[in-house]
């Protein structure tokens, strides 16, 4: 299942697979994206699917009764994870998001887990934790993230990694000891 959605992923500059290709949009603001939950992303994809799989953002904002300030980050997060294509201002569901919509919670987590594992900057962290063979301190993870996304974005990427990583059962984080470790999904 590790090759899921490569095509969708490739469109996003931050996902890294189409290295050097100029992205159509500026990189998403991780500070805002990292506060978006997977449930919100799934809710957004579903509401687009319900109106035929394609709509402009204003229509969707009206559909779901959310203003653009609040909806925008959800759109960015969904696009960042390859669960939505934004073409000429239109939001479009894709094969990957259709799969997410028709699957149950477990399967849904597996699909999104593969996506998150494939985000290059997150992969740097998981590779590091695996190599260390022990839980990493929050500080160590932040240091790694800093070298890839810069010091002032590291905290936001950390938040996203912990928040989404926990949901998809990729990452374990203990907020008391501030230690990050990896986990296998439950059977």
């Amino acid at each position: 299942m590790s090759n899921i959605g490569k095509d969708d992923v490739a469109r996003n500059p931050l996902m890294g697979t189409s290295k050097g290709a100029p992205g159509p949009r500026s990189p998403p603001d991780m500070a805002v994206i990292s506060r978006v939950s997977i449930s919100q992303i799934v809710g957004l994809v579903e509401s687009i699917d319900e109106v035929g799989g394609q709509a402009d953002i204003a229509t969707i904002a009206q559909e779901v009764d959310m203003d653009l300030d609040r909806l925008g980050p959800v759109v960015d997060a969904a696009e960042f994870l390859g669960l939505l294509n934004v073409v000429d201002g239109d939001l479009r569901v894709n094969d990957l998001s259709r799969r997410v919509l028709t699957s149950r919670v477990k399967e849904r987590k597996a699909i999104i887990r593969d996506i998150i594992e494939d985000v290059p900057v997150f992969r740097q962290v998981t590779t590091l934790v695996r190599a260390a063979g022990r839980p990493l301190e929050r500080k160590e993870v932040l240091a790694t993230l800093s070298t890839h996304v810069g010091g002032h974005h590291a905290e936001d990427f950390f938040k996203a990694l912990v928040y989404w990583g926990r949901y998809v059962e990729l990452v374990r984080y203990d907020s008391e000891t501030e230690q990050v470790s990896l986990r296998e999904p439950s059977p």
Binding site: S39, Q40, G43, V51, V64, V74, K109, E169, V171, R172
Partner: protein, 253 residues
Amino acid sequence: MTEARPLLEVRDVSKSFFEDSKEFKVLDGIRFDVRDRDFVCVVGSSGCGKSTLLRVIVGLEPPTAGDVRFEGQPIRADNPQVAMVFQSFALFPWLTAEQNIELGLEARPISPEARRARAAKYVDAVGLTGFENAYPRELSGGMKQRVGLARALAIEPDLLCMDEPFYALDTLTAQSLRDEILQLWGDPALPPRAVLMVTHSIEEAVYLADRVIVLSDRPGRVLAERRIDLPRPRNRKEPEFYGWVDELYSLIV
């Protein structure tokens, strides 16, 4: 043919509050049943007494008149076959997700190991795996409500009561949680045997319920009861769906 006894019988329930010897009637002669495999939504505008109705049904408040029976017996607040999910989540901030869920089982005569296993089962069922050791402050609203749901399901109730469970959530989170609840409901291996939910949203009721009970403004009376026979998953954009929503709206206004 005799029908099996309903799981829940609400019989002519009225409820009044008294202030300065003046009577405020909140509920007036409410009567309905909830049967096995029923997903029932009670809808009404805010202040129509639907939350009070739910509190009376689970035995947290006595009715002024009428009675509530669960499997033929008068309802008691400590009935272990009834569980509740709250609008405000009602989580303890100093306990982790898992500890909050286990807390609901503390009064049960089961071993700590069995309690932990039970909690783990429902953590997994609601998609909370990964957040077991997270504190409520680390959780989004949707995840908090999943904790509330897992805590209620871990009791393995026959009747699950929900008081506006999506009210505190943004619309996107609410929609995906509604779908997850329907997935759980569709799994016959999981409790409960019936769901009774109150909501102010007619759309939400038509999306979820097998049966919708419409209450009037205060004092709440049953205006109508409708069986929603649309197949699931329901599409909120389909004319049949909208037909139901329009019909129920016309009853309220």
